[in-house]
């Protein structure tokens, strides 16, 4: 494998890891506050549709992004209503949200555009176009560093850079602010937070809303940057892979980056069977490679390699004692 192939492979790794990273950080906020969220996939799907639809109608991708975030946020609030206010089962609520998004997006897409559950293809300003970083063209001829900078680091859409910036931001918010301390505490011991006079419900709703916003950006990335338009079920289980990455990352932001990059690499390799064959000399089936993140997550969860310990109060509704 030559250097250019490697750069190309890493480039598509970054592209494929971006939605996973955003969704993974989304899940991180929610689960660190003690709200399990298996509805990441549905929220991404809803955001993907609404951002593509509004971008197609208005011609502005930024309006599309806002619409996507709003759609994802609405589903997040529904999740909050079910699991925080009415103390329902968070897992069941997540399942419902996934189906709601899978059904409604196709239904509305058919009603608005009559194209068999897809949006029209997005062109021009209705898409997030690649950004060329300064001096990319000048540096490109330089050996080694040139292609690295021009191909791998430069030339992504703004959402990619936002996703990568979200990692240190999340770390800072969680570990260096009062809000972050309280958020983590509410996922471990909500009663203690309540005793300290801080609203458990308020904190959990805040976490769920942050989760909604990040999922919204992830979904918008799918339909307006990675691809040009919405197609049915386009999230393709990415929400579940993000969930797997979250466990893999042991609910920590920097680990989340490495986990999603790893899973992104698997995704990139899936499309380049020739590279794998050149690397290890055996023909590997793409389908089996696609299942690798899931298998690895099961192994991690089983504690055979390291141990993933979820937030202690995760999944349990908080009942104030009277």
């Amino acid at each position: 494998m030559d250097y250019m192939t490697l750069i190309q492979l890493l480039d598509s790794t970054v592209r494929l890891a971006t939605p996973l990273l955003l969704a993974c950080l989304a899940g991180l906020f929610s689960e660190r506050a003690g709200i399990f969220d298996i509805g990441l996939d549905g929220k991404m799907l809803a955001a993907a549709f609404f951002s593509a639809a509004i971008a197609a109608i208005s011609g502005s991708v930024w309006l599309g992004l806002l619409a996507g975030i709003a759609a994802s946020l609405a589903l997040s609030l529904l999740h909050g209503l079910a699991s925080i206010t009415f103390r329902g089962n968070q897992l069941i609520s997540g399942v419902a949200i996934n189906f709601l998004a899978a059904g409604l997006t196709v239904l509305i897409a058919q009603s608005w555009f009559q194209q068999g559950g897809r949006t029209p293809s997005l062109i021009g300003g209705a898409r997030f176009n690649p950004i060329t970083l300064p001096f990319a063209d000048q540096i490109e001829p330089t050996p080694f560093i040139g292609p690295l900078y021009a191909e791998l680091i430069s030339g992504h859409s703004i959402l990619v850079y936002m996703a990568f910036a979200a990692v240190p931001l999340t770390w800072w918010l969680l570990y260096r602010t009062r809000f972050g301390l309280r958020l983590r505490a509410v996922g471990e011991n909500p009663a203690a937070v309540d005793t300290a006079g801080v609203s458990v419900i308020g904190l959990r709703y805040a976490a769920v809303c942050i989760c909604g916003v990040l999922c919204g950006i992830a979904g918008a990335y799918l339909s307006t940057a990675l691809q040009a338009g919405f197609i049915k079920d386009m999230s393709a289980g990415r929400g579940y892979i993000a969930l797997a990455a979250l466990i893999f990352a042991k609910w920590r932001p920097w680990y989340a980056l490495w986990a999603t990059l790893l899973f992104g690499l698997f995704g990139a390799l899936e499309t380049r069977p020739d590279v794998i064959e050149a690397l290890i000399g055996i023909k590997v089936q793409g389908q089996l490679l696609g299942a690798l993140p899931y298998v690895m997550t099961v192994i991690i969860l089983a504690g055979f390699v390291g141990k993933a310990i979820p937030p202690r109060a995760g999944g349990e509704p908080y009942v104030k004692e009277r």
Binding site: I38, V95, Y240
Partner: protein, 376 residues
Amino acid sequence: MDTMPKWAEVVLVPLISLLLAAILSALVILGIGEDPVAAVKLMVTGALGSTYGWGYTLYYATNFMFTGLCVAIAFHARLFNIGGEGQAMLGGLGVALACLYIPWPHWSLALIGATAMAALFGAVWAAIPAFLQAKRGSHIVITTIMFNFIAAAVLNYILVNMMRPQGSMDPATARFPDATKLPTLHDLLAPIGINFSKAAPANISLLVAMAACIFLWVLIWRTRLGYEIRAYGHSESAAKYAGISPVKITMIAMIISGALAGMMAINNVMGEAERLVLNATEGAGFIGIAVALMGRSHPLGVFLAAILFGFLYQGGAELALWTSIPRELIVVIQALVILFTGALDNMVRMPLEKIFLSVRAARAPKPKRKPVEPAE
């Protein structure tokens, strides 16, 4: 803590949840510019207006009975098995192996053999997450989700690379031999003078599914094991104190659950397609969640809810055929049912409890007030 009479608990709460789901579904149909009344009429004639429609309704209902029971038994042990889809896929593999590689002399023997294989494959696929939960403490919901994806990948691999007949491009097995053909409802009802549609896929698996409902009722409410499963589901610590092994109950409940999901394959793989295709389950494993929630995890409830969802499925197919409403409407209705009967259960229950409490308080005789003695 009986705040509500039993009939309200069993009938009123699910009925109100269902009504809310129905109202919202109607609003969705209105929202996409269609007429809900006409849609319901079309669904009723399409799914229940002919023996052909009934044949499809009952065929789908058979699938959902198996997957609904699968989720229900796990719920009794307070385990959430989202893996019904993957377990049913593996069940299909079991059925395909049994039908293709064993020369059965008669369909009845083939049915018994295929059922056993389907149950075995489904049970194994559920037993691994169960073991990981019981022994290694990994969350069963996450592992069963992961196992759904792994099952799909494994099946894809096996169909494309191993079981596909030579020269075929289609990722599917060869057609099963004629000896494994299950009698349809047409064949079963013809001797007693009922002319049931010949084209509809409903078959003898329906009777197996109904038998499974009865079996599960007996198991849960009439056996020691069922008592242990329910006790474990109500309180793990109390069950442990009573000498019930959490590992044993988790394993057994999940094995039964996986076996039931796997058995769905005798209906869709052996009874209908007569070969194993990719995505043979068509999401039936997930519909089992809605069915179990709506049926309150009771076998009779699951039976009724499965028929309702069979009706919705067939009705939805008719809608997609004759109107511009896509089939995904059913997915929305399914989501709303899961939402209202599962996640938002308390939204319906809390106000109802208040009403019943106030009614009871008004009826009860007022306690006599004690004269307050002056403090010394």
